[in-house]
Subunit: 386 residues, 2 copies
């Protein structure tokens, strides 16, 4: 175990009929808020109505800022910052998945500074305060509802960057599994892949030899995400499966599974971001292409941990570490296919010829994340495993 | 999954050389503090010196309140409340294990009210505010360093009662595994039994049929506690084992493993408290006697979950649920014996003849905890499995 600080102050209200709490919870943060949401999907079901009625009943006045898209863009966050500043809002309420919550986080941080919010992303400025944020989650995937991270794409430069800062923890997040009943199968699958990838980033990048606590927590969460994702795909309105998928995805990236691992990296996210930035691939779909490739590359360096994963998650045991690792990677890739998530560049319409450009983009993120071992040579080596 | 609120605001600083942070962290809470600690053991090693020097350097002035004993008593907490009130302290710093931290929590709550602190324990009053608390943990066991619970024994009535309140979360807890290097083998073992029992209380008392996430987290933590306890007993100054034991014990009772389980109980604690209250048995030692007895009784009602535990933790598989459960209970009892923890009343010097009186005490706690199904008949039935 390496030294760590664990401090996650987000209050989570989890379960059925919790949406009605958004009003009273928000009223504790302020009376004048910016409501950030995505496309019209929350208006098709009852989520939008429930949230706005609850806010209204609690005496909270609302400025709307809809239209966040998946792979959220800087320009839209900038527009939100303008609105928040103009109307002097006290707080922000995000209703959506990780894209909406991340946009809202950027607005919370950007509304309190004079400079452009992108300076935080490129490491030119540090966040010292942020407007308080309340979230209503509608997609099990990113974990942003209970962590301090955010990712945005600069739509001028097509650069997708992300980072974490303690001022970005939501004050409160409402997780009602019924709010995910209408998530289509594809996004249910991509969300599961995203959450599993968060777990795998830590599990496979720690430099420590023995991390029994974190390994077991991670393996347990991966198994739970796989099971509940399959169940949710088979029965989209099955409450228990949606609930388990939602909570497991939140726990996958709330600090629990990385605490004590020392230096860790996000190489798979590093390699995926250029895909979704340049080709607007859904993030989880991009990851399900990248993950098997990165694991294949990694298995040449450290097959032992991959073999452990293969054994504990897929029950693969054949005595030979390298062979176990290979079988484990194939099993994970097979599972991605089973849930309908892509596993090749062709399936996400990214041409092989784009790889050198994507590698340049990945290098830019590597510099900011201080993962300088991910130079162009290594990045192309991994992309060539695709 | 049942609905739940998860909100754990405690900041944990974990690792080597973190004791020196107690001064700066405390200074954020106040300049005039009550220092609560136990017997002289922290003065034999360097912990006391490190803490007081750090506080002094941070400009924090200290009123001392040492002498907390294991199975901490109300009279000592009352004395602390008097001191805290007289000196108008801004905050409390606890240096010790669960007994010290729980005493400090009682002082934090009691110092801000006019009535006797015991009224909180018997449910006659609710805590509405408390002094801020900083902890330096010296024993892996109770989890009090990252939760909102506390347990005290009323030394007039010999009643041991406990409860939780959100104002009792420590603001900050410093977990330096080296501070546990000098914990004797017996208390290392009792601490492990205590932490495992916290996990088992939730695991075995949930009324839900399927709780895959919580089950896997729990099984992983139990395995990690068992492994690291054995290693710590073999090499008391082995950093990694002490670190894993410490973090796993904290995670065992910080809300993680119980979230979503619905109604749960603490029957094993209920049945143990009278033993430690009347006979001053170390809490973990009392639990290691009670746990196999409660499981034996429980196995007649629900062997399935115990069989699952037997399989996943001890690798026991024999097809017959009842037999697996029995073998699993024997394996756990055998493990308690292996680490030198008692498994019979005789080993803790409690006479069989005391059981009717102990049952009366347990009933009093059952009433306060609203576990009315634990009537005298059931309690004696379980005690008779001892």
């Amino acid at each position: 175990m390496e030294n760590f600080v664990f401090h996650n102050p987000t209050k989570v209200l989890f379960g059925q009929n919790t949406l009605a709490s958004i009003g009273p919870e928000t009223a504790l943060l302020g009376k004048n808020i910016l409501l950030v949401y995505g496309r019209e999907s929350i208006k098709k079901n009852t989520i939008y109505t429930q949230v706005t009625e609850s806010l209204s009943q609690a005496g909270v006045s609302v400025i709307e800022h809809g239209g966040v898209r998946s792979n959220p863009v800087l320009s839209h966050a900038r527009a939100g910052i303008e609105l928040a500043t103009k109307h002097k809002v006290d707080a922000v309420v995000a209703v959506g998945g990780g894209s909406v919550i991340d946009s809202a986080k950027a607005i919370c941080a950007g509304a309190l500074v004079d400079h452009d919010v992108w300076k935080f992303f490129i490491g030119k400025k540090s966040i010292r305060e942020a407007l308080p944020l309340a979230c209503v989650l509608t997609l099990a995937a990113s974990g942003s509802e209970m962590n301090s991270g955010m990712v945005l794409t600069n739509d001028e430069t097509r650069t997708k960057l992300g980072f974490a800062n303690r001022h970005l923890f939501p004050r409160v997040s409402i997780l009602d599994p019924t709010a995910t009943f209408t998530v289509p199968g594809s996004y249910t699958a991509y969300g599961a892949v995203d959450a599993i990838t968060h777990l795998l980033e830590f599990y496979f990048t720690t430099e420590l030899e023995e991390t029994p606590i974190q390994d077991r927590l991670t393996e347990g969460l991966v198994l739970s995400i796989m099971e509940s994702c399959e169940q949710a795909l088979a029965h989209p309105t099955g409450y228990q499966a949606r609930a388990r998928l939602m909570w497991a995805a939140t726990l996958a990236l709330n600090g629990l599974t990385s605490a004590g691992l020392g230096k860790i990296g996000f190489p798979m996210h590093l390699l995926e971001h250029p895909l979704s930035a340049r080709y607007d691939v859904p993030h989880g779909a991009g990851l399900s292409v990248i993950v098997p490739a990165w694991l294949t590359w990694q298995s040449r360096r450290n097959p032992k941990k991959i073999a452990q994963f293969a054994e504990r998650v897929f029950g693969i045991q054949n005595g030979d570490t390298a062979a176990s690792a290979r079988t484990g990677i194939a099993a994970l890739k097979g599972w991605f296919e089973k849930i309908g998530s892509p596993v090749s560049l062709a399936q996400i319409d990214v041409p092989q010829s784009a790889l050198p450009l994507l590698a340049e983009d990945a290098m830019a993120q590597a510099a900011i994340w201080r993962m300088r071992e991910y130079d162009k040579g290594r990045i192309l080596e991994i992309y060539n495993c695709l």
